[in-house]
Every structure is written in structure tokens, then in C-alpha cells.
């Protein structure tokens, strides 16, 4: 039997730097612990590497024969059990280190959101390099199995009703696990980005209201914001090419002015209809600080960046006040 080195990469929502796996005579089982049956990902790993896929729900395989474990877990249990035993773990769901065993889930042993397309055979040269790196790890852990592993029997095919139950259960599991992992992702961005900004804005509103600065600011901004011409003028000012890149970063200024304007509207100092044109007037500079970065995210060439920066900054002089005017007309619908 010939064995090949394969590479398992993470999927779009996944975690981990990917695993490089090479089976040998002692380690040649791909364990599929996915609620019964061989998962297509496990089948693909086995097919490309030359190892044997085994259904981990109905068969017991000694740990030292296992090349990799394929799991479908976004929760707490299986996701950590196999990494804790230092067995390479391939998670079909987009999981990341969580649960009581999170400390064992490291990127050299765990990869997630893996689909059939994330598995590839490595070319000879790449494989040699990977194997060389792997060899040290192998020798360190080498406690050769005394009895050669009997080739596990081919997995029994599930039929009829039971296969439906398993499929149904897997679908539910997939939905719930994705939602859980999304919830974790949502909490992550709220903790790291939204809450700090809320604390800052809260402090700002507190200071501005408590000290009476809001009244002073209102007396400056209200005349400008209380007639359409003033709003259009504001739209021009924020879009001035030498000003807009300074006003942009983090939309901090737009957000602060937005909060101040909102307070004035809430107090009745500005008419409700002006909310819409105001939104555009305070935001004419949006992204002007970010043009080169945004373009390079789109893999633009240096010539495109040099042309693009001026193109974006200078069209804003027209499109920013124009946006305010359109919004002003649309605000009659409110």
C-alpha cells in the first residue's frame, strides 16, 4: 500500500494554520467521529493519503493507529478531546478554541471548517520538506506499536430509517453549531470594537451634556444644520481634499457629530426632516483616509493607487454636496 502526504487547510470561517499528514504502517486510520458513517471529508483524506477511513461511532481503534480524527463539533466536547490526546483533529464546523479543553486546541493539531475542497495532496518536493519537519516530531513520540495494526474492516453502510435519522441529526447539529460559533464571533467583535466605542461615546455624551458644552456646540452647529444650504456647505467642507483624509479615521468625527446632531434633533432644536441630509452631510469624507489601503485590499497595482487616490478625493467635492441635496429632496417623504 502506498501512502501520500496531504495537506488539510482551514475553510473560510475556520481556524488553524492547516495540517500536513503522512500515514505510515502504524498510523493509517482516518477516524470519522461524525455521528455514524464516514463523512466525505474523512473519505477524501483517506483517498488522497492512502489511509483507511473508519467510522469512530461503531468501531474502536487504538489511538496510536489514528492518523487524523474528523469531527463535527462546534461546541465543547469532541473539539477538545482529541487535541488533548495530541491527535490531529479536523473539524468540519467552523470551531475555534473554546470549552473547558480550549488550552489543548492548538494550531499544530487542529484545523476547522474543513470541506472536501480544503484537502489536497502535496507534491513530492513539498511533501519531502513537510516530512522532514514532521520526522522530528515522529521520533520524539515513537513508541512503536508491538503488534502491527490489523486493517480495520470496511465501514458498514447504514441503510434506511437509521441513515435518515443520522442525516437529520447532522443537519440540526450543523445549524446549531453554526449559530453558536456565529454568536461567539458576534460577542468577539462586540467586546473588542463596539463596547470600547460605546464607553468612549458614553463618556463623551456625559461630559458634553453635564458641562453644558452641548448648548455651546449647538449654537454653532445648529445655524449651519438648520437650513439646506448650510447642510450642503457642510457637505462641501468635509469633502475638501486636504481636509477629508484628516476627518476620516475610524469615522470618529462623523460619529461624534452624528451623536451631537442626534441630541439636537431629540431636543427638538432641529427638525426631524433634517436627519437624512445630515447623515450625508457629516459623512462626505467617508473612507478618504483609507483609499490606498482599500485599493490594495482589492489588489490594485501601484499605478491604479496613484490615479485612484486623486480620483476619489476630487470627485467627492461634487458627489458629497450632491448626496446632501438628494437626501434633502428624499427627506420630504419622511
Amino acid at each position: 500500500m502506498s501512502y501520500n502526504t496531504i495537506k488539510v487547510s482551514k475553510g473560510s470561517g475556520g481556524w488553524g494554520k492547516g495540517l500536513v499528514l503522512t500515514p505510515n504502517d502504524q498510523k493509517n486510520v482516518v477516524l470519522s467521529v461524525t455521528g455514524g458513517g464516514i463523512h466525505p471529508v474523512a473519505a477524501k483524506i483517506a483517498e488522497l493519503s492512502g489511509a483507511t477511513p473508519v467510522d469512530g461511532f461503531t468501531n474502536q481503534v487504538p489511538d496510536e493507529q489514528v492518523l487524523a480524527v474528523v469531527i463535527n463539533c462546534g461546541g465543547t466536547a469532541r473539539i477538545g478531546v482529541y487535541p488533548k490526546k495530541r491527535m490531529p483533529t479536523v473539524d468540519i464546523y467552523p470551531g475555534s478554541p473554546t470549552g473547558p479543553l480550549a488550552q489543548y486546541i492548538t494550531d499544530d493539531i487542529f484545523v476547522s471548517d474543513v470541506g472536501v475542497n480544503n484537502i489536497a495532496a502535496l507534491g513530492a518536493a513539498e511533501a519531502a520538506a513537510a516530512v522532514a519537519a514532521d520526522a522530528q516530531a515522529q521520533t520524539a513520540a515513537a513508541t512503536p506499536a508491538s503488534t502491527p495494526a490489523p486493517t480495520p474492516p470496511p465501514p458498514p453502510q447504514q441503510k434506511g430509517f437509521m441513515s435518515w435519522v443520522v442525516k437529520f441529526g447532522n443537519a440540526i447539529g450543523y445549524i446549531i453549531n453554526t449559530l453558536l460559533s456565529s454568536g461567539r464571533q458576534a460577542l468577539d467583535i462586540i467586546l473588542k470594537t463596539v463596547l470600547p466605542f460605546m464607553a468612549y461615546v458614553g463618556l463623551l455624551i456625559g461630559i458634553v451634556n453635564y458641562t453644558g458644552i452641548s448648548n455651546v456646540l449647538a449654537s454653532w452647529v445648529t445655524p449651519l444644520a438648520s437650513n439646506p444650504v448650510g447642510l450642503i456647505l457642510l457637505g462641501v467642507i468635509v469633502a475638501l481634499p486636504f481636509l477629508s483624509p484628516i476627518l476620516g479615521p475610524g469615522a470618529a468625527i462623523a460619529q461624534v457629530i452624528g451623536v451631537l446632531m442626534g441630541t439636537q434633533i431629540g431636543l427638538g432644536a432641529l427638525p426631524v426632516q433634517y436627519a437624512l441630509p445630515t447623515l450625508f452631510a457629516i459623512d462626505g469624507q467617508v473612507g478618504c483616509d483609507f483609499v490606498p489601503v482599500g485599493l490594495s485590499l482589492g489588489e490594485a497595482k501601484p499605478e491604479t493607487v496613484s490615479v485612484g487616490v486623486s480620483a476619489v478625493l476630487f470627485t467627492r467635492l461634487v458627489t458629497s454636496p450632491l448626496a446632501v441635496a438628494i437626501a434633502y429632496l428624499a427627506s420630504f417623504l419622511i
Binding site: 471548517d113 463596547l195 458641562t211 436627519a275 467617508v286 485599493l295 470627485t315 458627489t319
Partner: protein, 201 residues
């Protein structure tokens, strides 16, 4: 004791020091209870939806939308923002010819605040541009809040279309004026030949 100016000064300072932070804490609490729960469940749902739809299908839809100017500066930025959210949305510029990239960026970045009125997850870190202004409307005329949200979104679409077309035009002019025409002709040919950066294996 009451007439001691030092003591009065200290009392004044203590009262207002605490008062200032109490006012700030009140503002913070109202933000926490007002916006955060909605944002949290919405973020959860949208992240899950993107996972279910799958990156491949998303990429496909966005590439399709990039073909015509009308969709390139409306649907394409909307989908990019909706599914990839703020900073990552600009990476979809790589599916476009070089000469359209500045216009696509301008169009997409201009939608990163209007989109938050209906889909706050798309740019959760900068939500106060919208929610700052709309909080005032919610306070004084709650019945107009939904209309305002829908209009901000729709007018946003019109504005990004105009910005995209304007920037596409000016990019073309600057390419000619700057003598870059040969370079960009080469880029266009490479694009036609299907050598899109980041796509080839």
C-alpha cells in the same frame, strides 16, 4: 465650616466629579440597553447566514454583479458589505479590471454607513454615524424611525451609484492625462485573459 472656601471648593469638586461620571454612566447604560441586544442577535444571524451560503456562492454572485456599471456600483458594494463587512468588503475589488477599482472602492466605502441602518453588523464598529442621528429621531418621533432607516439605505444606494460613475469617469480622465494609457491597456488585456490577481492557483 460651611463658609470655609476650601471646604466648599472640595465639596463642589466632589459633587461635580461624581455627577459628570454619573451622567456618562447613564449615557453608556442607555446605549447598552438600546442598541447592543439588537446588534448582538443580528450579528449572530448574519455570520451564520454567511457561513451557510458559503464563500464560493458569495464570490460568484459578486463577480456576476461586477459586469455592468449599474450593478457594479449598487448591488456589488451592497453584497460585499453585507457578506464580508467593513474592511474586508474592499477585497472584492480584485475581481474587477484595474480601471474600475478606485470607483468600486469609492462606491463601497460610501455604503459602509448607510448599510448600518438596516444591517448594523456590516460595520458594527462605526454604528454611531447612523445610530447617533437616529437616536434623536427615535426620541422625538419614533413613528418616523423605520422610514428614516429605509430612506438612508435607499438614498445611500443612489449616492454610491453616482459616486461610482463619477469616480470611474475621473479615473479614466486621469489615466489619459497622466500618460498611463499603455499601462492600463496592458492591465485590461491581462484581465481579459483571465489573469485576475488572487484568483489563479
Amino acid at each position: 465650616m460651611d463658609n470655609n472656601p476650601v471646604m466648599r471648593g472640595i465639596t463642589w469638586f466632589a459633587t461635580h466629579f461624581i455627577g459628570l461620571f454619573n451622567a456618562s454612566a447613564d449615557a453608556f447604560t442607555s446605549l447598552l440597553t438600546g442598541i447592543l441586544p439588537l446588534l448582538m442577535v443580528m450579528l449572530t444571524f448574519m455570520y451564520a447566514l454567511t457561513t451557510w451560503i458559503g464563500e464560493e456562492r458569495v464570490t460568484h454572485a459578486i463577480q456576476w454583479a461586477g459586469r455592468w456599471a449599474l450593478t457594479r456600483y449598487t448591488i456589488m458594494p451592497f453584497l460585499a458589505m453585507l457578506l464580508l463587512t467593513n474592511p474586508m468588503a474592499y477585497t472584492f475589488g480584485r475581481f474587477l479590471p484595474e480601471r474600475y477599482k478606485p470607483a468600486f472602492y469609492d462606491s463601497t466605502v460610501s455604503f459602509c454607513h448607510p448599510i448600518t441602518s438596516l444591517f448594523p453588523h456590516a460595520n458594527a464598529g462605526e454604528i454611531f454615524v447612523w445610530s447617533g442621528v437616529s437616536a434623536g429621531v427615535l426620541q422625538i418621533a419614533p413613528d418616523k424611525y423605520a422610514t428614516l432607516a429605509a430612506l438612508y439605505f435607499l438614498v445611500g444606494l443612489v449616492v454610491i451609484l453616482i459616486r461610482g460613475i463619477a469616480t470611474q469617469w475621473l479615473t479614466g480622465v486621469l489615466i489619459k492625462r497622466g500618460g498611463h494609457e499603455e499601462t492600463f491597456k496592458r492591465y485590461d488585456e491581462a484581465y481579459e485573459a483571465g489573469r485576475i490577481q488572487g484568483v489563479q492557483e
